[in-house]
């Protein structure tokens, strides 16, 4: 390695990461305190002000029951965030340990875990959700679990493949030559090298979790009315698209802004942390 490479490189933080993170922070804050800052009661019917277009009084208009669309959006942001973060957390909690175990033990343990994962992957993602939500009564919790399970195989495969390449490195053999315990090797030697890849994937996964969760809600298999989950709000607005498009467009646009911002964070993190870009000394 040359002297040049020895200088610690200050990585260039991508602009999309900054912009995306700023929007996500604002949306998370709004999602958390939304119900309290909403100008109207999001569940209050007002028959006389049904389907009013956006105005100073109702920034995003009102829906078919006269409910304030902005207030409903503020109250419902929480659902998307919960689905995105919750489902990703589930896929991490189940998928990462499975991947590590499969990579470490190899042999039949690996075979069994990976065959189950193959089976899960051979079902199209939406079917897993449909299957679970068709046979139980729908609700936020179940949507989160269903979406989380869909992404377990991806996390397991990714963790396994990265862990396999880490486990092939000599410092693992050095640990084996000291007779280190399995837990130490996985926790102290393997995991720190696997994390960057997993964090990037998880941050990208949040986008897809929100996407799938809101699609399930849109199909009526998520939180049930009168919940103001954004996907559900869009679905409910469909009969009124010709007369009052804002009922569906407003939550739709909010959902898009959230998703694009989250995706920017993920892609930005990938640029920043991509394992291939990481500074390893070469001649």
């Amino acid at each position: 390695m040359t002297a040049v490479a020895q200088k610690r490189r200050r990585r260039h933080v991508p602009l999309i990461l900054v912009a995306g993170a700023a929007i996500v922070v604002v949306m998370v804050l709004l999602g958390l305190i939304g119900p309290w800052i909403a100008p109207y009661d999001p569940t209050m019917f007002a028959v006389r002000s049904r389907m009013q277009p956006p105005s100073g009084l109702h920034w995003f208009g009102t829906d078919e029951f006269g409910r304030d669309v902005l207030s409903r959006i503020l109250a419902g942001g929480y659902y998307s965030l919960a689905m995105g973060f919750g489902a990703t957390a589930i896929s991490l909690v189940i998928g990462v340990p499975l991947g590590l175990i499969a990579a470490f033990y190899r042999g039949w343990v690996d075979d069994v875990i990976m065959r189950i994962i193959d089976l899960m992957i051979s079902l199209p993602p939406i079917l897993v959700g449909l299957l679970i939500l068709a046979v139980t009564s729908p609700g936020l919790g179940k949507t989160i679990v269903a979406v989380g399970l869909v992404y377990v195989p991806i996390m397991t495969r990714l963790t396994r493949s990265v862990a396999l390449s880490v486990l092939a490195q000599d410092f693992i053999e050095a640990a084996a030559a000291r007779r280190e315990k399995t837990v130490y090797i996985l926790w102290r030697e393997v995991l720190p090298n696997v994390w960057p890849t997993i964090i990037v994937e998880a941050s990208l996964r949040i986008t897809f979790a929100i996407l799938l969760g809101s699609a399930l809600s849109f199909l009526g298999l998520g939180p049930q009315p009168p919940a103001s989950e954004w996907g559900l709000m869009i679905a409910e607005s469909r009969p009124f698209l010709d007369r009052a498009p804002w009922i569906g467009l407003a939550p739709g646009l909010c959902l898009c802004v959230l998703l694009v911002a989250v995706n920017f964070v993920g892609e930005g993190l990938r640029d920043l942390l991509d394992p291939r870009m990481q500074g390893r000394g070469h001649g």
């Binding site: 051979s122 199209p124 939406i126 449909l130 299957l131 809101s214 699609a215 996907g231 498009p245």
Partner: protein, 318 residues
């Protein structure tokens, strides 16, 4: 190659059997009796008992499974509960219409995604690459149902150019009318996936362009256009095919959503109908058929990449 194909096909059959068991088990073993699901929560005990007897729900689960599976193997999916029609006929028609929708979307995604991906990789860092990249980042994240909703508002409600919902068979109404119903759903389904595919093609193409063998080709004096087409592209296509297979799975989710929005009478609508009406035979069969279609797509992708990859096609020599 034949050995590989045989192995993959056998693997697919195994997966389908396993999936049939999982689908069946999920529906029959999860809390809540099937009869209650069909009749609703407030059904009388007698009605439940009668239905359970009629559907053979009191037999041991394995007997029920075997009865269902042997029927499926003979091509008999039974009678739908909510409509008086054979499941097979319902699914057959829906599958045909969904296949048109999905096939056209996948074709569009493949052509556009690969072309744009190659363009971005070749012109890396240029203005068009940066614009495309930002579009990819954005389009990947926007849900199909949003596009569907916007498309209906703009093209059906405001402009009135295209029908908002429904379907006309190709045989009845002719090509133009048939296409008019397909355009909006196909485009809405393709936007996000095109972004995804082009992104993946870009990165695999870049990897190929930066490889030693491309450098070696340039050192041989191969003109740049041939360097890209003959040397880089075949290697970049392998990951692209895998991505297309993955996206076929995402596309199935999109089809369910798009068919619901556009009231398109395909397999997705049928599945949603079965769920809403607790039509167990229809639901089981529909899920199995969707899984089979997806498995076939994955199989086709695997075989295609095996064809392209001499390592698999010929096996390793030593």
């Amino acid at each position: 190659m034949l050995v590989y194909a045989a192995r993959r096909i056998l693997g697919m059959v195994v997966v389908l059997f396993a999936m049939s068991a999982v689908v069946f088990a999920a529906i029959h073993l999860l809390p809540g009796s099937v009869a209650h699901m069909v009749l609703g929560e407030y059904a009388t005990a007698e009605a439940v008992a009668a239905l359970e007897l009629k559907l053979g729900l009191r037999d041991p689960i394995l007997v029920q499974y075997w009865r269902w599976l042997s029927g499926v193997l003979r091509g008999e999916f039974g009678q739908a509960l909510s409509i008086d029609q054979p499941v097979a006929r319902l699914i057959g028609g829906a599958l045909e219409r969904s296949a048109a929708l999905g096939g056209m979307s996948l074709l569009l995604v493949a052509i556009m995604g690969i072309a744009l991906g190659i363009h971005s990789a070749v012109h890396r860092g240029s203005l068009s690459d940066r614009v495309l990249t930002m579009m990819q980042y954005t389009l990947i994240a926007i849900p199909e149902f949003f596009w569907c909703t916007v498309a209906i508002i703009v093209f059906a409600v405001w402009l009135g150019w295209l029908p908002a919902t429904g379907y006309t068979p190709l045989a009845d109404a002719g090509l133009l009318q048939w296409l008019r119903h397909l355009i909006l759903p196909v485009v809405c389904l393709s936007l996000g996936l095109t972004a995804h595919v082009s992104r993946m093609v870009r990165s695999s193409m870049l990897e190929a362009i930066e490889s030693r063998y491309v450098l070696a080709a340039r050192a041989k004096g191969v003109p740049e256009r041939l360097v890209l087409l003959r040397h880089a592209l075949p290697n970049a296509m392998l990951p692209a095919i895998t991505v297309l297979a993955i996206d076929a799975g995402i596309l199935i989710g999109g089809i369910v959503v798009a068919e619901t929005v556009f009231s398109f009478p395909g397999l997705g609508s049928l599945l949603m109908y079965a769920i809403q009406n607790h039509d167990i035979p229809l639901l089981q069969a529909g899920m199995l058929v969707v899984t089979a279609v997806y498995s076939l797509a994955t199989l086709a992708a695997d075989l295609a990449s095996a064809m392209l990859n001499p390592r698999i096609r010929l096996g390793a020599a030593h």
